[in-house]
């Protein structure tokens, strides 16, 4: 089944391009460490999922590129074409001349309705090219105007036009110390609207990825390209073909569906965080060796202690003892309760891995059976030059603190009515803001009370 990707705004388009690059280069790589037949099946599955074979030999990505100004899209198209191994099809982009000016209201109320038909037509066309449509992946940032505002509108349109398809929104959270001054307003508006129309939100925070680049990858001068490549690597490790749980010899035919089924049991809880291990500079790869027990132990502690990467984990945090009578002390130890976890393992000896530690009921909330709360996908084919790699997609309290902080700052600004005239100019009134705050406060309190 195929996934159609919608890239929105500057961030979405820059990341989308890196994602397709990473998928393509991994698929063509010779480091699969598995049998030739297995490798062939992997490549075919990847191609069907993300690319469309056309008459010319170079496959075209199943993607729609949307932006309100032309510079980024033309860059993305040019870079893809010059790679020689894949490209964007020539008629699947939509751009205008003048951007959204970091104004959510402009993206949602003005550009959305104005360009709805053109954009939806492109999506329709891309969807028809798939033999079987597996769902939509949208890539956007929350801080700007197009990705956030127009993105929220397009997600709603997708939901209306394809009521039975899966929609996964990949959202980028901006740096805490400001990329855009009104980013907190834009974030609050985006998240509350997405919560109504999308199936799940998969989140990457710029601060976290920046730290990974600085500390794990040792990059001295980190550019946005580096950040985007790390994000692309993490997304690739989730979306490349994998054997679904429950056996069966083929690769999963319904990636988005399986993912959502294992991770989103209740519609109130839709925020997914992603952790990937190991992450290191390419030059150091040949000199390291990993063992599955080691990797999994780190990953489990990362989950419990809400660590963002494999350095600096707080090993003091422990899950509560079963039957303990005082659950509130856990909050003091910052223990991260999960609703559901999905572990995706790729590489050598993957079938011998012992996963009992993740099925420990004390990691999860009480209202789900631990067997249902934890799923594992094991694939013998290695990913992107890592002999063994593990990715954890988690529906847990990972994002609680950042979300709380964003809402707090936005409320602070709202209380002094700063910048509101810019939004009311385009049709978002104060009541709309208040509704959004209410929605998000509800989400925050649900996650806090796990």
């Amino acid at each position: 089944m195929s996934i159609v990707t919608v890239q929105l705004g500057q961030c979405g388009n820059q990341i989308g391009h890196e994602v397709f690059s990473a998928l393509c280069s991994d698929s063509r790589g010779t480091h699969g460490l598995c049998s030739k037949k297995e490798n062939q099946s992997y490549q075919d599955s990847c191609k069907e999922r993300f690319f469309c074979e056309e008459e010319s030999a170079v496959p075209a990505a199943r993607a729609v590129l949307v932006d309100m100004e032309p510079k980024v899209i033309s860059q993305a198209l040019a870079m893809a074409a010059s790679s020689g191994h894949w490209r964007y099809s020539s008629h699947s982009h939509f751009c205008q001349k003048q951007g959204s000016g970091n104004n959510w209201a402009n993206g949602y109320c003005v550009h959305g309705p104005r360009h709805k038909e053109a954009i939806m037509e492109l999506v329709q066309r891309e969807a028809e090219r798939c033999d079987r449509l597996g769902g939509f992946l949208t890539i956007m940032s929350m801080a700007g105007g197009t990705g956030s505002g127009l993105g929220a509108f397009v997600t709603q349109c997708l939901r209306d036009a394809f009521p039975t398809s899966f929609i996964l929104n990949h959202v980028i959270w901006p740096y805490g110390t400001g990329e855009v001054i009104v980013q907190n307003y834009n974030s609050v508006l985006t998240l509350s609207h997405l919560y109504h129309s999308s199936d799940a939100l998969l989140v990457h925070e710029n601060d976290v990825i920046h730290k990974i680049c600085a500390q794990l990858l040792n990059i001295k001068q980190i550019s946005f390209r580096d950040v985007n490549q790390v994000i692309a690597h993490q997304l690739g490790s989730v979306f490349q073909p994998a054997h679904a749980a429950g056996g069966g010899s083929g690769y999963s035919r319904n990636p988005l569906g399986d993912l959502l089924e294992s991770l989103v049991p209740h519609p109130e809880f839709r925020m997914l965080g992603l952790r990937n291990i190991p992450q290191m500079a390419e030059s150091s790869l040949p000199y390291s060796a990993f063992s599955w027990p080691g990797l999994l132990r780190h990953l489990r502690q990362m989950l419990i202690a809400n660590a963002q990467m494999e350095e600096g984990i707080d090993w003091q945090v422990r899950p509560p003892e079963p039957g303990s009578s005082i659950p509130c002390t856990n909050k003091a130890l910052h223990f991260n309760t999960s609703i559901a976890n999905l572990l995706i393992l790729r590489g050598k000896d993957v079938h011998s891995v012992e996963l009992g530690s993740f099925q420990d009921p004390s990691l999860y909330t009480s209202w789900l059976n631990p067997q249902d709360a934890f799923t594992a996908w094991k694939t013998p084919r290695a990913f992107n030059k890592y002999e063994k790699s593990a990715a954890l997609v988690s529906n847990s309290q990972f994002l609680l603190k950042p979300l709380d902080s964003i809402v707090g700052k936005a409320w602070n600004m709202f209380a002094s009515k700063a910048y509101l005239h810019q939004y009311t100019k385009f049709g978002i009134q104060e009541e709309d803001f208040l509704d959004c705050f209410t929605t998000l406060e509800q989400v925050i309190s649900s996650y806090t009370n796990l």
């Binding site: 100004e69 000016g101 110390t177 855009v180 001054i181 920046h210 001068q221 980190i222």
Partner: protein, 450 residues
Amino acid sequence: MTQSVVVQVGQCGNQVGCRFWDLALREHAAVNKKGIYDEALSSFFRNVDTRSGDTGPDIYRGKICSLKARALLIDMEEGVVNEILQGPLRDVFDSKQLITDVSGSGNNWAVGHKIYGCQYRENIVEKLRKTAEHCDCLQCFFIIHSMGGGTGSGLGTFVLNLLEEEFPEVYRFVTSVYPSGEDDVITSPYNSVLAMKELNEHADCVLPIENESLFEIVNKIHQMINSGKLGSTVKQNSLVTSSAGSAKTLPEKPFDAMNNIVANLLLNLTSSARFEGSLNMDLNEISMNLVPFPRLHYLVSSLTPLYTLADVNVPSRRLDQMFSDAFSRDHQLIRADPKHSLYLACALLVRGNVQVSDLRRNIERLKPSLHFVSWNQEGWKTGLCSVPPVGHSHSLLALANNTCVKPTFIELKDRFMKLYKKKAHLHHYLQIDGMEQSCFSEAVFPVACQ
């Protein structure tokens, strides 16, 4: 890609404007090696086929035939405009873009605004419409004028009014040169205050500039060059005050160095809209992020570096120095010290070979020493453009919405009151139809309330 139109009014406005066009051509010549009319050029220039005379059709692609500036030159006396038309830039201006008269405004705002305004209204509107029609997507009008004289301040603000009426959706950025305390025009306080009232209500963003600051910067550079420190030869064309490499070959006139600074300011402001970068910052984003309340739209600007040494190796320390300098008192274009006042918002537009990590590091470093308003603690807007200005490998433009403009305005008001209390020179103004004493009292109040 969007287009912008420059309206230069009065002697000061036209002299600065002339420098702006000169430096713009220089910048595009440095970037555009193949002589093809591209989107970046189209933001300020039209490509006209002049074989059939001045009224040839516009050419949208292909080689550059003849570039015409998207500008309107207005002056009520002919001297300055005539000089421009006889100079090396005569081919850049279309004869239909000029509006001149013979006798000037006599340093009287009322003459400029009321008399010439009414007289030339139709003419101005028609020429503006013509210029707008040549634009595919007009985003912004840049008005350059001075506040102390008669034409620039009176007729300039009249044009501002007109623009709001005729083109309400197009942004209006005004670069105003404020008179200094020892200005030789005695009625400059009257003219400035009357003009300020108009700016308050009709401009989207105002960039105030004071001649004294420009003068100090020019002096600093002279000292630097003439001090002859060992090993510190300065690259001539990198001076923010130089016209080296541009069309001008005549000996430099006294105000040229200062006007070059303002021209560079405008070029840097629009660079991210014209050239590509990893984090674009368009003009509408500047207005969106830096104007929290409609009337507080005065932005203090500073440009660094002022010069580049001829050293090839530029260590990272120089980069950090550039950021520190942007917040120092010496580099601001008005006489104010933003560090000791309250910041409402701040924008950093970086050009050249600077990455996200450098930006983040410097923001973290400088944040503790700056005071931000309580509801906007992380009020930073950042933009990264990959194309550096001529002669530099990187540069920074800082725009701040800061309360340090208050002393400047209070001083202006004091000078105004001194004259007004004695009713000095008032009869010149009251002679004009439609000017009444009440205009003066109305004008003072907004200034006082900032």
